[in-house]
Symmetry: C2
Subunit: 115 residues, 2 copies
Amino acid sequence: MPTALTVIETTDSTCCSPITSGVMSDDEATSLAIKFKAMSDPTRLKLLSLVAATQDGEACVCDLNEPLDLSQPTVSHHLKILVEAGLLTRAKRGRWAYFALVPGALPSLADTLQA
Amino acid sequence: MPTALTVIETTDSTCCSPITSGVMSDDEATSLAIKFKAMSDPTRLKLLSLVAATQDGEACVCDLNEPLDLSQPTVSHHLKILVEAGLLTRAKRGRWAYFALVPGALPSLADTLQA
């Protein structure tokens, strides 16, 4: 599957070969499970979609709590899990932290799921 | 994205629009989170990959415990979660249960993750 291989070679976030390519190794399964665990919460999925939908690809933490009707500490907690799972980047500028999708992370997960 | 729309129209397993298309609804996020939660465990990911890699697309439960070095009750527990999440089908024939990927379920999840 050349497309999947291309992505594997050109992104830093890829961990795993396609789920349909054979029995997954322990390391691959563990690495992939961490990402899916971060995405197994509706609030975190909505945060990912909010960040992904921003025009410049970056969202200030100060703009994320209102659309979800959650406190900023709660939003920060969920953002931290997404950063630790390698799905979001975090950049501190002045008073606020800004979050963006890790380039290639979601497409790489998508490639892993393609049959 | 015509490909994504085609999948959405032709499978029963699609729940959600692409994660990059805007803020996700509560229902979409909840439905998607259930699927990712089922996939947030290394053993369940390996089970999915074992089923997906079978030549005829179907695996007997009797053939799944040995490659994972797990007891059959443990394997059955994980398979039940994957069936309930809409990722695997289960068919009982004679003494054994047979598992297959729900058609379109993984590609549909992949479409949701495409940027």
